[in-house]
Point group: C2
């Protein structure tokens, strides 16, 4: 981890969820230099306790200059980020320069946007670091952290959900899908996993089938840059899965961020749900 994180100052480009805060706290605890960067609309109260700057996408030139002035050497994207609402007339020179690339990125999927922004930052001379390399315990090795395990039917459901995600990967869509007894109950597009699980909880019984059944699968898109936008689960995901009447959650070992590992596993154990941190070969192609 030390090598991936490096010794220079780290800029934490902060999206939603608990991840950017956890990285900031880990940096502070380790006594390493860092700077939290949020874009307008994504600034949150906890950032006031850390070295923090707010920027605008439209002022990318100012952002690059500020990062250099602050001595930033590496950059990490942490937490989900929606497409920014750009006001192009506010573009500064730096933003103008990268505008063609950014505007093209905005027409691609979510992951295309983030990995593209990563590429732009790298072209500006910053090193792109993965969130999971900043937090030692953010991902889980292969195994069953929970008391409950999935039976053969549920594992087959996980493989089918995984195949659905693999088919969509080349189109840069979907990091999550739910399959129950062979039937696909839902595929996540832009709405997010919480919304996906909430709508499955409300499916009429004739469509939903027997409860409990089914597995939520979250895994990276095949070939995606794993330094940005790894799928994440947390206690809220577990609670949503329980309300949706699922048997468990499957992630790819080392391929998903557990937002709060112990709380997530404890919530699953309380609800009797399984978490399968599966070897990729166990999930199929």
């Amino acid at each position: 981890m030390g090598r991936a994180r490096g010794a220079g100052k780290l800029a934490i480009i902060a999206g939603r969820d608990a991840l950017p805060r956890r990285i900031a706290e880990a940096e502070r605890a380790a006594g390493r230099p860092y700077l939290v960067v949020s874009f307008e609309g994504l600034t949150q109260p906890w950032m006031a306790d850390h070295p923090h700057e707010e920027h605008r996408f439209e002022k990318a030139g100012r952002l690059f200059a500020a990062l250099r002035r602050a001595g930033v050497e590496a950059v990490v994207f942490a937490g989900a980020m929606d497409r920014p609402r750009l006001e192009p007339w506010r573009f500064d020179i730096g933003a103008m320069r990268i505008a063609p690339r950014v505007l093209a990125l905005l027409r691609r999927g979510d992951d295309g946007l983030l990995s593209g922004l990563g590429a732009i930052l790298e072209a500006e001379g910053f090193r792109l670091v993965a969130a999971q390399d900043c937090l030692p315990d953010a991902t889980e090795g292969a195994g069953w952290p929970t008391v409950a395990r999935l039976g053969e039917t549920a594992r087959a459901d996980a493989r089918r959900a995984s195949a659905i995600l693999a088919a969509l990967g080349p189109l840069d869509v979907a990091q999550a899908a739910v399959v129950a007894e062979g039937i696909c109950l839902g595929i996540e597009a832009i709405e997010g996993t919480d919304a996906l699980l909430a709508r499955i909880a409300e499916l009429p019984e004739a469509k939903r089938g027997a409860r409990p059944s089914g597995v939520l699968v979250k895994r990276p898109k095949p070939g995606q840059d794993r330094r940005v936008d790894l799928p994440a689960i947390g206690p809220r995901t577990v609670e949503g899965a329980a309300r949706a009447g699922l048997l468990g959650i499957a992630v790819e070992a080392r391929g998903a961020i557990l937002l709060d590992r112990d709380a997530t596993v404890a919530a699953a154990d309380r609800a009797g749900l399984a978490i399968w941190s599966a070897d990729p070969s166990d999930l199929g192609p």
Copy 2:
């Protein structure tokens, strides 16, 4: 159409939506012999005005015998049908005989179920007829039935949604997807198109992007048996698309059923939405 429909008695296996009723009314108007068949739980008041029998999946033997006794020669599946909730202890001999095949089908996708049931009926000696061959005006040729048309950005969105559906087709998932300015806003799994559009209408603005934008695409799965389960749109679909802030709906020419063609087009014109009945090559692979 006459040739596809044939002269013998037609059994209309009636699911939800207006389609089975429209076929029954067309048969009656043409003076052709027919029989409406509903499964327990799907029987509706309008069926009382037609020759009608209610059956149970579990009594498939009785169903086959009843169809033969009634002189049924051909069968059409009309309207969406959820997975039946089977009570296997009620299986009769005929159902026992086909049980292994039916139980295997229930573990496949929606389309796998219906085309599999079609294959079973064919094996029993009945001819499988497509709903669109029973209703002359149920599908639309290539063109723009609406006043509004889609611009180049929206057509690109339609092609991207279509590519998403094509990728999922081999997995027997999804006949509908929505893309707006390059971003996939939703993919339909088991919930149905109305639910898909309702949740897009409620997406937060940061995820939704500018309104109006985006296109709903419904098209058959590549290689699916087009005699069963062709995608359908109707006035309700148009109203849902309008509430979701879309620019229009794209279907494959002759590849979607318009549940009430004139009312659907009128609703789209009122809302300023485009309906694109696209040549398959215009939607991409």
